[in-house]
């Protein structure tokens, strides 16, 4: 049974602007590690941001664990977002806060405004944060400021923040594009391991086809807002890749 199903998703940012997504549909199962590949400007980032409605689609249908995502009110949307972890290309950490506070901010979907204002997180949250930081290998950097870390370490903080949410689905937006090749590989390995531990499906935008082929179980190929390929990684071949990236050559 599929966990996430997207049907005929269409997006345009302004009434007169171009259509970014032109009716995309796909299904994600419980143990999928899905890669979304395609040339830049194909709509990968937009697609992934529709799942937790950081971008509002124009029409279509998104169902996640049986919930109609597009029908949610703002309270329901907050609930949904806390179940969906997200990891960003440029980490999107708050540079001036400590690693610990950045990780704890992953709990914000669960706590009220007063807790957030005075940063009164429970002992349980703190000990959870410590073990998550252990898991991503940052237990020596708990009290450092986020901007004192290297790129790879910063992405690990981003992963830890997503894990704090106790997510049921992980969205990755180009998690490795700001990292060098060696560290990219390490980060991808870590994410694959964690996804298996938490038994959650992953949806990953990635421009590096090599990495995608290596780590992902399924693939969607996007080109100019249209789905060109959808299937197991094993079925992807050079010819199809050429087709997807044809626009980039022009």
């Amino acid at each position: 049974m599929s966990i996430l199903s997207v049907k005929d998703l269409k997006v345009r940012y302004s009434a007169s602007g171009p259509e970014i997504l032109k009716g995309v549909s796909f299904e994600v199962d419980a143990d999928d590690f899905f890669a979304i590949i395609g040339p830049s400007g194909a709509g990968k980032s937009t697609l992934i941001r529709c799942i937790n409605r950081l971008v509002e689609p124009k029409s279509g249908e998104i169902t996640l664990y049986g919930t109609d995502v597009l029908a949610l009110n703002s309270r329901g949307l907050r609930k949904l977002r806390r179940d969906v972890g997200m990891i960003f290309q440029e980490f999107n950490l708050v540079d001036r806060m400590s690693v610990m506070d950045n990780v704890l901010s992953g709990r914000l979907g669960y706590v009220g405004n007063i807790t957030a204002l005075f940063r009164l997180f429970s002992k349980k949250d703190i000990s959870r944060a410590l073990s998550v930081l252990d898991r991503v290998g940052l237990s020596d950097h708990v009290d450092k400021r986020a901007d004192q870390l290297s790129g790879g370490q910063r992405q690990r903080v981003g992963i830890a923040r997503a894990l704090m949410q106790d997510p049921k689905l992980l969205l990755l937006d180009e998690p490795t594009s700001s990292l060098d090749p060696k560290i990219s590989r390490e980060v991808m390995e870590l994410i694959v391991e964690i996804a298996a531990e938490y038994k959650m499906p992953v949806l990953c935008n990635i421009h590096d086809v090599q990495l995608a082929m290596e780590f992902c179980t399924k693939m969607i190929g996007l080109q100019d807002g249209i789905k060109m390929f959808d299937g197991p990684t094993a079925k992807m071949n050079t010819k199809k890749l050429d087709e997807i990236y044809a626009m980039e050559v022009l």
Partner: protein, 273 residues
Amino acid sequence: MTTAEATAREADRIIAARSRTKLMHSAIYLVVLAFVLWSVKTTIVDDTDWARLGSLADVLESISEFVGIDWGLVPNLWEPAIETIMVATLGTLLGVIVCVPAIWFGALNITPYAPITYPLARLMMTLSRSIHEIVWALFFVAAVGLGALAGVLAIAVRSVGFIAKMSAEAIEDLDPKPVEAIRAVGGSDFQVFIYAILPQVLPAMISVIIFEWEINIRRSSVLGLVGAGGLGLVFFRQLNTFNHPGVSTVILAILVLILFGEFVSYYVRKAII
């Protein structure tokens, strides 16, 4: 027509154009100068009571009355000096509190409903900055009576414009990426503000607030002139009793106070940045 002729003609044209613009400029300067001279005549020459002023020697004599320090006054300056600092501090703090809605409404990227709330905030900022602190103090003396409270309120209201304007600009320039991240974890608007916006703009805001505090010491040192206590009141009293060295003493005290403010603000700003 040969090329040489054409070049010569072109040069003539450029020279003519230049002398034309030169003439224009001189004419403008002349008009401005005439206007200035006329202004000087109407404001300074016509409006001054030259008989009261007397000769240059008389002027120098009345200036010399101000030379000197009234040491007897110095012990009496402590209390008003502390009052002045306190009024400036409380006023700045209250100003910061009043600022919060102005900043929230006045930053285009977080204002709740731009067509109404944004102009409202701009109006608040402009009113605060365009009315002089003396006028604000007069208004609050009428509202809450003589005393330090009127001074605190005047300072607070006068501070709102600058602090809010600079902070709103800082918020408009912030990095939107952490904002997106906090939204994505399910944070409410308030949590987005506390976690993603405030940490980014806090250093700039504190720096602006301290700068404003420094200016507010200067302001609160004169609010006594309209009945709001502090050094201004002592100044007024010395002047009314014709104790001119005392007047100079108070001015020196104000200078010392402001130096103290600059000193504190320099170190605090260094510590936070």
